[in-house]
Subunit: 299 residues, 2 copies
């Protein structure tokens, strides 16, 4: 596996951020991507802002020696709870998340309706943070927002359950029914795992509700930022291409169970991956004490 | 809150171990209990032996200054993956878990049948560890064992879903049906969360299957160990008493979100608790570097 320095860093608590990587590789096929999945401490969705912020700061500090061109927090919970604090800690480093692009897309999808109703499904922590409410109301103060924490969806997806499983259907119906009663115009999938169930969600909602995939929006946002900043690698054009036209590499680091990550990754990424490398959580803590950042040597 | 030194330490990834505390307080009402819930890094059930062992060792090392009389690993996953390694690390410290007592009780419940069929439901990691298979086959080599990983049960319980929820019933039926087809005699609840759904599990299984609660068995095992070792506090008798006859204290430490822990605790413990104290995960790592164990002062 070859990888240049200055990759795009994508980080997440586990596997979900690979849906962002999938979308990124479509729009930026020549970029090298360094993915970090914090599988020893996942999930983030039931944890506090202080804890999640600390975790994300540790990961970014650990990856700094590879000189990231851009850091993507590909996790709605981490974005919602930690992005402003993390940006302040690493001033000068371009860092983006999934909430703003998702909120922007939701407004576009709501169209010209005076009082659009926008639903958001997400983890308990994302809902509590009010990050989507702030991001949407900053643009459309009259949008009516409906929030639904959907803590079972990540475990259902991680267990490998398919949309044909009656348990998946029942869970989605229980979560979506209260939202549908309010005549929703748009539903934001506010967790990077959820696109896995998009097809069934769209079936349950019917054709009158637009579904926004925050992973796809996040990737488009990063592509635009890099293009605007003249930072696209080797001046290659930004255009969708098929998987086999990739020239950028993907390198994955995880804090636990590389085998499980490799086995489940194709469901999120659409293609197989090389074996991920293991980073002990101890390394994330050690840097703060010794001042020395340890990073596996780039091949 | 008063607490003497030399408490019984009970540790778990989160809330589940409180079912063990509840049973412990029934059989040892005069003992002070120090509970540690590693809520910043929960759950353990999808993680590897190396990672879980490291987490448990950090917690015990952190609590050593309070001179535990006995340490209970009140989590099936942590017991299954880490107990032998942790005992080796802290030689001389009495440490027990939930798997051996659960296995023993399953054998007793299987009675005199020559080839009893024993089912075990547990986390993915507990099932993979084969700890129950070893513990049962050591005593009854001809027992036929049926294993079912049930990764959704903890998230269902943590979301606060009741046994009347159709989603809970469907999930339990999906998990238990394959086991019931094999004419099971005994079912072990191999996770300290699962007693919350015991009533519904027993309804689904019918009266021909004995259900073993590893939390209750674990508490009885600790009481017996302390009694045998002459270590019961102040020579008080071991006898079941009502909650209001407690003289022992309960002090809870958590690595994240004390408010959530306090809110959900009564479901597992049966009574309200004092606000838990927060321990930063950083403290668990720092001790290994500085050699200095930091522990909040006992009140």
């Amino acid at each position: 596996m070859q990888q240049s320095s200055s990759p795009i860093v994508v980080l997440d608590s586990g596997l979900g951020g690979l849906t962002v990587v999938r979308a990124l590789r479509q729009v930026l096929p020549d970029e090298d991507i360094l993915y970090f999945g914090d599988t020893a401490r996942l999930p983030y969705g039931s944890k506090t802002a202080a804890t999640v912020t600390r975790f994300v700061e540790q990961i970014i500090a650990f990856l700094l020696p590879c000189k990231p061109r851009h850091v993507v927090i590909a996790c709605n919970t981490a974005t919602a709870l930690a992005l402003p604090a993390v940006r302040a800690t690493f001033a000068g480093l371009p860092i983006s998340g999934v909430v703003e692009p998702g909120a922007r897309a939701a407004i576009v999808a709501a169209g010209s309706k005076s009082f659009p109703t926008i639903g958001i499904i997400a983890t308990e922590a994302t809902i509590k943070s009010k990050a989507y409410a702030q991001a949407i109301h900053r643009r459309r103060s009259l949008a009516r927002l409906l929030f639904q924490a959907t803590p079972l969806l990540v475990p259902l997806i991680e267990e490998g359950r398919h949309i044909r499983d009656p348990l998946v259907k029942l869970a989605l119906q229980q979560y979506l029914d209260p939202l549908m009663k309010h005549g929703m115009d748009v539903l934001v999938l506010g967790c990077t795992h959820y696109p896995i169930y998009r097809e069934l969600i769209e079936q349950i909602l019917g054709t009158n509700v637009s579904v926004i995939d925050s992973a796809k929006q996040c990737a488009d946002d990063v592509a635009l930022k890099l293009k605007t900043g003249g930072l696209v690698r080797a001046g290659k054009p930004i255009a969708p291409r098929s998987e086999d036209e990739q020239t950028g590499t993907l390198r994955c680091l995880v804090t636990d169970d590389p085998d499980r990550f490799q086995r489940l990754a194709p469901r999120f990424l659409g293609v197989e991956i090389e074996p991920p490398e293991w980073v002990s959580p101890d390394e994330l803590y050690s840097q703060n004490r010794t001042g020395a950042l340890k990073m596996p040597a780039l091949p």
